[in-house]
């Protein structure tokens, strides 16, 4: 296995871990932060796959703006999933 494939594999494993974590957590604020981490790892995957335009959007929208919007909504509706 080449180092490039190994990096892909590690990134995908991290993505999967984040996704499972988001599905299982009951704390919405933690979910939002984990979702931000998920987006950032996905951004690395895009950059690594030679798609800088998509990587830039993923970093700005996924890891940045949506996290802030999620946290703002959570601050208004309550932190725990019922």
């Amino acid at each position: 296995m080449s180092p490039i494939e190994l990096l892909d594999l590690v990134l995908l494993a991290l993505l999967l871990t984040c996704a499972i974590g988001i599905a299982r957590l009951k704390d919405l604020a933690a979910c939002a932060i984990l979702f931000s981490a998920y987006s950032f790892i996905l951004c690395l995957v895009w950059a690594h796959r030679g798609a800088p335009d998509v990587a830039m959007t993923e970093a700005a929208v996924g890891a940045g703006i949506t996290t802030v919007l999620f946290l703002t909504v959570i601050s208004r509706v309550g932190r725990r999933e019922k």
Binding site: D53, A60, V68, L69, R76
Partner: protein, 236 residues
């Protein structure tokens, strides 16, 4: 067996029934990077061969976004604007909760004040260089929106939302849709097609930059508006 168990079993069966054909399909995709795969040999090959010349942009992604697939991009701009309308309609009318937000530490405040102008300049750079470098209207717009949100987090939303009047904000948020529609209509007299960009390189570059600026400023204002509505700063 109670209803909850039945639900779980049905869900598992449904996911399995969806997953098996999907995985079967994925297994039969050509390996990534194979040059003669069908996805790379027809339309994409033409884009890569003639894209810089026909699309009018060194960055092929921008060429596809603003020229080959302009109607798609117009739809995206419209979707973003509609998203803000929906959020403003739902969240903008909700009564604001009375709790006072704690002011951030002086360090955070100072750092955000220092960073904001640089973020704005970088956002403009990303917007107007979309045709040669990665980036463009959408990415730059998100950076502008992020700057608005950062400033709102540091100083409370009101001073930022009051920089221009609500009417001006609404026009700014519609900028992407309006500018795109205008350029699309301009294509009719210039090239004979809606969404057509003229073949003259200077004029085409100018129009593409106008498009990117419209998308960027509109997108940034929409993202700021989303935050203002959700945070209860702006009543609409």
């Amino acid at each position: 067996m109670n209803a909850w168990r039945t639900g779980r079993i049905l869900t598992t069966v449904l996911i399995g029934a969806l997953a098996v054909p999907l995985m079967y399909g994925v297994l039969h995709l050509p390996p990534p990077g194979q040059a003669d795969a069908p996805a790379h040999s027809n339309v994409s090959a033409k884009y890569i061969e003639h894209g810089a010349e026909h699309g009018g942009s060194e960055n092929l992604v921008t060429g596809v976004l603003l020229n080959y697939r302009a109607l798609d991009t117009f739809g995206e701009v419209l979707v973003i604007f509609t998203a803000w309308l929906a959020v403003a309609a739902v969240a903008g009318t909700a009564r604001q909760t009375g709790h006072e937000s704690t002011p951030p530490s002086p360090i955070v405040d100072y750092v955000i004040r220092m960073l904001a102008p640089f973020i704005a300049v970088f956002a403009l750079f990303v917007i107007v260089n979309g045709h040669v470098l990665p980036g463009g209207g959408f990415q730059g717009g998100v950076l502008l929106g992020a700057m608005l949100i950062l400033l709102s987090l540091a100083h409370g939303g009101e001073p930022v939302a009051d920089v221009v009047s609500l009417r001006t904000w609404i026009w700014l948020r519609a900028a992407g849709v309006l500018v795109f529609a205008l350029v699309a209509l301009l294509g009719l007299p210039l090239t004979g097609y809606l969404f057509g960009l003229p073949t003259d390189p200077t004029l085409r570059h100018a129009l593409m930059i106008v498009l990117e600026l419209g998308i960027g400023i509109g997108g940034g204002a929409v993202l700021g508006g989303l935050y203002f509505s959700i945070a209860g700063v702006e009543r609409s």
